[in-house]
């Protein structure tokens, strides 16, 4: 019973981390209608930026926002040079190839500049554990959960309460209508892309200390994020959060009760099942182009 509760708590915390990656992915899909296969690379960039900033003397808590800014700056550069030209209103397979190639290029660039080996990302929370009511939680996990929830709540409020946020929602619901009502759609798309990859960078900065930084660290996370996002319905922010918790719990339960070595396949099996059985997602917003 205690093991079950411990597993459930771990799963929920894991889910909060996934939610951050997934919300970024879903915001980009909602407004740009592309699946960003480079999302995992921006996740890795977030972790490496944090690491390098810490080596340069930044304390962890300050390194996180600075790292997010770095990722956003890189994202902005890529957005203006590549994404904007290659992806908007182009055929879908072009966007898959370009974002995938982008992720390969970023990973290769990381290997060439920093090296292929895993590097620890220092965190003041270190290996400390918090004991509460008989359960042990790593302090870093608690911090990830708290930061994710805070950022996601802030983001939700920002989307609903500000003009820019409302415009993002408008574009994701009906780009043409938004254009006719005078919204600067290209600007909103660029902004959404930056927000999306910044979320991935933030997730990398938060999760980095737990798994260390390595060039392909984003792959596993982005795979889970695909599952989450598709489960929640592509483009649906609430769905992404709900999906993240479901997947977090599922992963934790599987790892504890079934098998650790097969856990990497679980994400894939889930994403396949979700796409085959319920492609419109749990929240039921049909988005899929099926024949």
């Amino acid at each position: 019973m205690d093991l079950l509760l411990q597993t459930l708590i771990n799963g929920l915390i894991l889910g909060a981390g996934y939610a951050l990656v997934a919300v970024g992915l879903t915001v980009i899909f909602g407004t740009l209608h592309i699946v960003n296969f480079a999302h995992g690379a921006f996740f890795a960039l977030g972790a490496y930026a944090t690491l390098l900033l810490e080596e340069a003397g930044f304390p962890y808590l300050l390194a996180i926002p600075a790292a997010v800014l770095c990722v956003a700056a890189i994202g902005w550069a890529l957005e203006t040079t590549i994404v904007r030209r290659a992806l908007y209103d182009q055929g879908e397979h072009g966007s898959i190839i370009v974002t995938f190639a982008l992720s390969q290029a970023i990973v290769a660039a990381i290997i060439l500049t920093v090296g292929p080996d895993p590097l620890p990302v220092p965190s003041p929370f270190g290996q400390a554990a918090v004991s509460a009511g008989g359960f042990f939680l790593s302090a870093q996990r608690l911090f990830i959960a708290a930061a994710s929830v805070a950022v996601l709540l802030g983001f939700s409020v920002w989307l609903r309460r500000t003009v820019k946020g409302q415009q993002i929602l408008a574009v994701s619901q009906n780009a043409r209508g938004a254009l006719y009502s005078g919204i600067n759609v290209p600007l909103i798309r660029s902004l959404s892309f930056l927000l999306g990859i910044s979320a991935a960078g933030l997730a990398g900065a938060l999760i980095g200390p737990m798994i260390s930084a390595f060039p392909t660290m984003g792959d596993a996370n982005v795979i889970v994020a695909f599952t989450v996002v598709i489960l929640g319905g592509l483009g649906s922010i609430g769905g992404a959060m709900l999906g993240a918790l479901v997947i977090g719990l599922g992963n934790a339960l599987f790892e504890t009760y079934v098998s650790v070595s097969w856990t990497p396949a679980l994400g894939w099996i889930l994403v396949i099942l979700v796409l085959l059985l319920r492609p419109q997602g749990l929240m039921g917003r049909a988005q899929l182009d099926r024949h």
């Binding site: 290659a86 879908e92 190839i97 660039a109 060439l112 695909f226 894939w268 099996i269 085959l276 099926r290």
Partner: protein
């Protein structure tokens, strides 16, 4: 994106001359193979690499059946490549079967597996299809890592005899000629497919699935046929990599393998039959001669792809065509 003139001879290239052109291209291919084979004579390393390149070109062609044929990005195609490499390795290792039997088994299993996989997944298009495809290869890789028959993370190695009939593939020259012959045969097959009913249907579907359906094409069935056709070609490619690699590990199913093939197809041009093959040669031989670090290679080629997609979505040959058109245009301008 596809150069339709190849599948549908235009007014000036009616049926007869198209066949002639096909024969001419084939003769050119054979000449290139012979020249390369004897030109490299005595350099076992380069001959081995050339043999491997032929196998890789086969994989690029297989990927291009999906990419250039249907307009889908089959990220998980490496699964069939890996299956083709594992099949002879496993049958030789565990059953003592000859290599050729393993190759055939791998191709049959790949086609047999592609049918239900396609039946389940080809209702999906675009990014959804790519994700599911990637997912299946991820599952396949984890499976190969965890099973005993596949040798786990260490894989299988130490093969006794890699030969096709009397041809011993451990001889670099023989390996190259066999791989090149297989490549040319598949090229010839694809060339004829292009101008058959099936090839026409794929082209119509790629350009407009709804229009294709309204012209009487069973879109789902033709997409399924394309996958079932391309899977055994990928398996054959995987099997042909064995004499070069001498080992099969779960890494063979890494999505990077598919990405390499996609890059090769895009560099050469997805619409042209010979494009992916030429792209494969550029992609493997050039880095070898330039002595590129594998990561520099990935970086350079990824950026190249992005450049191609931004500037010329049909492949580099489109850039050349555009440049040529501009040149002739400029010349005409001078004349007048």
């Amino acid at each position: 994106m596809t150069d339709i003139t190849e599948s549908a001879p235009g007014p000036r290239a009616r049926g007869g001359s198209a066949s002639l052109r096909g024969a001419g291209l084939m003769a050119l291919g054979i000449a290139a193979v012979l020249a390369a084979g004897f030109g490299l004579d005595g350099d076992p390393f380069l001959l081995n690499l050339a043999g491997y390149t032929c196998g890789f070109a086969l994989f690029a062609l297989s990927v291009n059946v999906m990419l250039g044929g249907l307009g889908e990005v089959p990220l998980g195609h490496c699964m069939f490549y890996g299956l083709g490499a594992y099949a002879p390795a496993m049958t030789m290792h565990h059953l003592g079967l000859p290599y050729e039997a393993g190759v055939v088994i791998g191709m049959v299993v790949a086609a047999a597996l592609a049918a239900p996989i396609g039946w389940l997944t080809l209702h999906l298009t675009g990014a959804y299809f790519s994700i599911v495809s990637w997912g299946l290869s991820g599952v396949a890789m984890v499976t190969a890592l965890n099973l005993d028959v596949t040798g786990g993370p260490l894989g299988l190695f130490g093969f006794s005899r890699l030969a096709v009939g009397p041809f011993d593939l451990s001889q670099p020259a023989t390996y190259f000629f066999v791989a090149a012959a297989v490549l040319l045969a598949v090229l010839a097959l694809l060339y004829h497919i292009r101008s058959s009913r099936f090839g026409r249907a794929m082209e119509a579907i790629r350009q407009g699935p709804h229009l294709a359906r309204s012209l009487g094409i069973d879109v789902f069935r033709e997409r399924l046929k394309a996958l079932v056709l391309s899977a055994p070609i990928a398996a054959l490619a995987g099997a042909l990599s064995l004499p070069y690699t001498q080992i099969v590990t779960p890494e063979v199913m890494s999505v990077l393998r598919t990405v390499d093939a996609l890059l090769a197809a895009l560099i050469g041009g997805v619409g042209l039959i010979f494009g992916p093959a030429v792209g494969a040669v550029i992609f493997t031989i050039l880095p070898q001669f330039l002595d590129l670090d594998p990561n520099v290679k990935v970086l350079v080629f990824s950026l190249l792809i992005i450049l191609v997609m931004v500037a010329a979505p049909g492949g580099l040959h489109q850039l050349w065509k555009a440049a040529a058109a501009r040149l002739t245009h400029a010349r005409k301008g001078d004349a007048s």
